[in-house]
């Protein structure tokens, strides 16, 4: 009976052939380890955000008079609403952590070089869009923290010369954070940004399928040199089939991702929900301190310590542009092993250390 069902499905869908062609005969490089699965983990984390977001959307009301109460209803009255809300909240922080580690890993393996420049750029753009999604999502529950964080984040672009005021005004839909801002952020958070990110994920995955997972320069040096006008996919003769070897690694990391989410949910459910998130937004009462989310602390601190508004924001923009276009700054063919490139390695380590210091500094 089972055999018949399997045959019926196989004739119509050809799953076996699909798995054989795309997973079993698709070889991953010899040095592919758990860190290589972080892109996949980020994809799963994004899907989790979409699913939990849809569940929240069923009860959420994007109106200043009802938004806070609707989130309270989701958390307290809707069966398991608290679970979806907390997974969405914790997941939004973990996805950024995963992407940051993924970016650092790709950078340290110098995997952004030809022919993977577009893959790197699409990844960076997705990172920025995920950050933007996070910014827009903060306002939606219409609590004190979100309201005042939005007031701060929507004011920062105003420091940019010429276009700054326009950006700020567009973000808020006026001079102040109001219901217009809420409906604007809502549209961006639930439709515009997720759609753009999904398209970019498609492009990113397609590029990885075409180019294959980047090899580890220390374990499997690139076999042949091709000119910049040609493309030749690495065969990885010593590599392992994607299924089941690499797929199990991916599955393991996805399990770890869920374990981390539920660990935080069990032992620190309010880690990313400070007490002010339980107070409705009050434009007349400024909280004692307004701090952005942990992943914005470094740029926030940078802007704070630099004694000039234009310079502070310009530096953040320049650093972001350098990150985005880094493959073109390091486009020269040559050594891919970062351990043999002391200048690049020290620059990367200094940047990471500074980022860490500014993040910790921003907390105080």
């Amino acid at each position: 009976m089972w055999g018949k069902i399997k045959h019926w499905v196989e004739v119509r869908l050809g799953l076996e052939e699909l798995i054989n062609r795309h997973l079993r005969s698709y070889k991953t490089p010899k040095g592919a380890n758990f860190l290589n699965t972080l892109g996949f983990v980020a994809l799963i984390a994004f899907i989790v955000q979409v699913i939990t977001g849809i569940m929240l959307l069923l009860y959420y009301l994007p109106h200043p008079d009802h938004a806070f109460q609707s989130v309270q209803t989701i958390t307290n009255d809707i069966p398991y609403g608290w679970l979806f809300r907390l997974i969405h909240n914790i997941g939004s922080n973990i996805i950024i952590g995963v992407i940051i580690i993924h970016l650092i890993h790709v950078f340290l393996r110098v995997s952004y070089k030809r022919p993977r420049e577009v893959t790197w750029i699409s990844g960076c753009i997705m990172f920025f869009l995920v950050l933007l999604t996070s910014i827009t999502g903060q306002l939606l529950p219409w609590h004190q923290t979100g309201f005042w964080q939005t007031t701060v984040t929507s004011t920062i672009p105003a420091f940019l010369p010429v276009i700054g005021e326009g950006i700020s005004s567009y973000m808020r839909g006026g001079e102040f954070v109001t219901g217009i801002t809420l409906s604007r952020y809502f549209s961006f958070h639930v439709v515009i940004l997720p759609v753009i990110i999904s398209v970019l994920i498609g492009l990113h995955v397609l590029l990885i399928r075409r180019q294959g997972i980047s090899t580890s320069p220390s374990l499997e040096p690139e076999s042949s040199k091709t000119s910049s006008t040609e493309f030749k996919r690495e065969n990885h003769p010593e590599g392992r089939p994607c299924f089941p070897h690499f797929s199990l690694k991916r599955l393991f990391m996805v399990m770890i991702y869920f374990a981390i989410v539920f660990f935080i949910l069990t032992f620190m459910p309010n880690l990313f929900l400070p007490p002010e998130t339980n107070i409705p937004a009050n434009p007349l009462m400024t909280p004692e301190s307004i701090r952005p989310a942990w992943y914005f602390l470094a740029p926030y601190q940078l802007i704070k310590i630099i004694p000039n508004d234009i310079m502070g924001i310009s530096l953040v923009v320049i650093f972001s542009a350098i990150l985005l276009l880094w493959p073109f700054f390091d486009a020269k063919e040559g050594e891919r092993n970062i351990l043999k490139r002391p200048i690049l390695l020290s620059a990367a380590l200094i940047a990471l250390t500074l980022w860490g210091i500014f993040t910790v500094w921003g907390m105080y």
Binding site: T73, W82, L86, T151, P269, N270, T277, S289
Partner: protein, 287 residues
Amino acid sequence: MKRYLLLQIVILIVLFSTDFSQAGYRETFEKEFMLSPWSIAKGETSACIQCHTSDDMGPEMHEITRQWKDSWHAKNNISCHDCHGGAPEDASMSMMHQRGFKGSPQDSDIPEFCGSCHIAILDNYLKSGHGKTFCDAAEGPSCVTCHGSHNIQQANMDIINEQLCSQCHTYERAKEMKQALFIVENKLSSVEESLAHLQMLGINVDDQEKSFFRTHLEFRALFHSIDVEAVRVKSSDYTQKLEIIESKIDDSFNKLAYRRNFSAYLFLLFIGLSIVVFLLSKSYEQK
């Protein structure tokens, strides 16, 4: 190499084209940007506070604003005009009687002044020994004698103390009242603490808070009658009311415990699954 050079030039141009002269930027950022209520229209900024904190005013006027900022009123968004009237949005008309400005009350008007909001307390106070003495002899304790004025804090049992009460009479009677209040006051504090804790954890306690607020208000109003017997007799009623709220609070804590257990179960499930997948992955690697 050219690319690195280009990058350095871009950074240098930005660094040199910026103005370093704005040394006070950080202060401006923190004071005016981080701490000011950005979203309210500029016109709504209180004219009372602007004027009373200006350099034209003496230190005693500055002190009024400072005391109010630390007060229980300020924490509950009760501003100057809520008591003194006037038009805080319009500096030129803010102290005009036509705009409802009442100014500072005469001593004899203080109970009515505070009682315009604290209605039930005013009723009980006027019927009490304190109120009668105040009205008949135009002296004796009014609201500000015990609670202060601009620096008013949340009322609690510590207000009844020997130093304050013995200014007018012996402490014995006040001590009896304090003992009569003790059980209910303790329960009020523990319920209030639990409600604040639940709210901080994201639990909706609006109904319990409303019920608590009503009970709290009624009990405080009763106390202002300074009738020890009445307080003793009604204490059990208030204790009962507070116990109902406490049982709802317990339900909320049970709900939280269920959430924690449920997510702990999911956590252990995924830990278990990750171990299984890891072992499976290792076994495939060995093949």
